[in-house]
């Protein structure tokens, strides 16, 4: 059972993406989606961006230089679907944001078996998590952790608001936190 995390900047540029395989027992059969996706996909980040710009109308990160890696594209529809869902949910998130002032917006959308949960930081960063099972508390703690790590990364003077997050430290922390809560 896997989870997909996307961190999006205020201008909807994807800054970070993580796919996490949960070791917790899932209640349903493993979906075809999870078995195809690699457990760690940061190295395919450029491919992600290319796929995102291809899969959706939000193409602000086109400047990344579309590296047409065979990997993500060959990885199947799955990746595209996941990203399409994430992007589609952005509209819903923004709607919800207008009414709901809280940071943690629970499940904003359901799509087949995927639920989309979102977390909006005061700085208008959106953390979008796609997951299959229901795990509100764990997800909330996970988001808080990611937020904390994100703030620490922001404090790095070499990082600007719209650069993709390449820090290994951040990466490790988010992975560890995913293991803990998801």
């Amino acid at each position: 059972m896997s989870h997909h995390l996307f961190l999006l900047s205020p201008s909807d540029t994807p800054l970070y993406q993580l796919t996490h395989q949960s070791t917790r027992p899932a209640q349903s059969t493993t979906s075809a989606l999870s078995s195809n996706l690699p457990s760690w996909s940061a190295s395919a980040f450029a491919g992600t961006v290319a796929a995102l710009s291809g899969a959706s109308s939000i193409s602000s990160s086109g400047a990344q230089g579309a590296s047409s890696k065979g990997g993500p594209v060959g990885g199947g529809q799955d990746r595209h679907v996941v990203q399409m869902i994430a992007n589609a949910s952005l509209d819903v998130i923004e709607e919800t944001m207008k009414t709901n002032g809280a940071m943690y917006l629970k499940s904003v959308e359901k799509f087949n078996e995927w639920t989309v949960s979102a977390f909006v930081t005061p700085g208008n960063m959106k953390f979008v998590l796609l997951h299959e099972s229901k795990n509100d508390d764990g997800i909330k703690s996970f988001f808080m952790d990611v937020w904390e790590n994100y703030v620490k990364t922001m404090m790095n003077p070499f990082h600007t608001a719209h650069t993709p997050i390449r820090s290994v430290v951040f990466d490790n922390k988010v992975r560890a936190s995913a293991k803990k809560y998801l």
Binding site: K152, M155, N156, P157, F158, R166, V169
Partner: protein, 210 residues
């Protein structure tokens, strides 16, 4: 020597506590970080940025030493070893509230000379001796991670410390070379600054006085 060390520690502590105006550490860190980033953008060459940081530190150091001596009322240091002790226990403590560890190294045998010492009026300590300051916490570099270009370019993020040490000691008639040996930001185990005594400076007559 341990009595002196304790004294220095307590002096340093007192100085830190007696100062009424303190600045928020995060603000300080963010300001310094922004400064380094701007220098990198302006000069684009990391070794040049190192030089500029050192120059800035030098200017800070020449002024800082006055403040330090006025507040601490310390007398002349008897030898270069004591200089190292005072800098680490009193100086760094009073201004940054950190206590770096100091290790001493005597001058290499061939360069052993005391002519400079006698001219400086009784200061013992061979030219060429050095001490190392090992900082286990560095307020300037909280939350900082160096990107690959900076690592390759050889950037010493906290190079301003070297300048401060050089400037301050030059005002008290010691010419030193202060350089970074290792830095945790670069992936090393410790952050270490080596300060090496080049020579004691003679009192110079200002140009134009004759």
């Amino acid at each position: 020597m341990s009595a002196n060390t304790k004294q220095f520690k307590s002096i340093g502590d007192d100085l830190w506590k007696s100062r009424n105006e303190k600045i928020n550490a995060e603000l300080f860190t963010l300001t310094y970080g922004a400064l380094v980033i701007q220098l990198i953008q302006d000069y684009e060459d990391h070794s040049e940025v190192n030089k500029q940081l050192e120059k800035m530190g030098y200017n800070i150091g020449t002024r800082l030493i006055e403040d330090f001596l006025a507040r601490s009322n310390m007398g002349r240091c008897s030898d270069f070893k004591e200089v190292g002790e005072v800098i680490s226990k009193v100086g760094f403590k009073a201004f940054l509230n950190i206590s770096p560890t100091v290790t001493h190294a005597a001058a290499p045998q061939a360069a052993n000379t005391t002519t400079g010492a006698s001219a400086a009026g009784g200061l013992a300590g061979s030219v060429g001796s050095s001490f190392s300051l090992i900082l286990d916490e560095n307020p300037l570099a909280e939350f900082v991670e160096l990107p690959d270009e900076a690592l390759e370019g050889g950037l010493w993020f906290s190079n301003v410390y070297c300048g401060v040490l050089r400037g301050a000691l030059e005002m008290v008639q010691m010419q030193v070379e202060a350089t970074f040996v290792s830095d945790v930001l670069r992936g090393d185990d410790t952050t270490e600054i080596r300060v090496k005594l080049v020579k004691y400076l003679e009192e110079e007559v200002p140009v134009g006085d004759d």
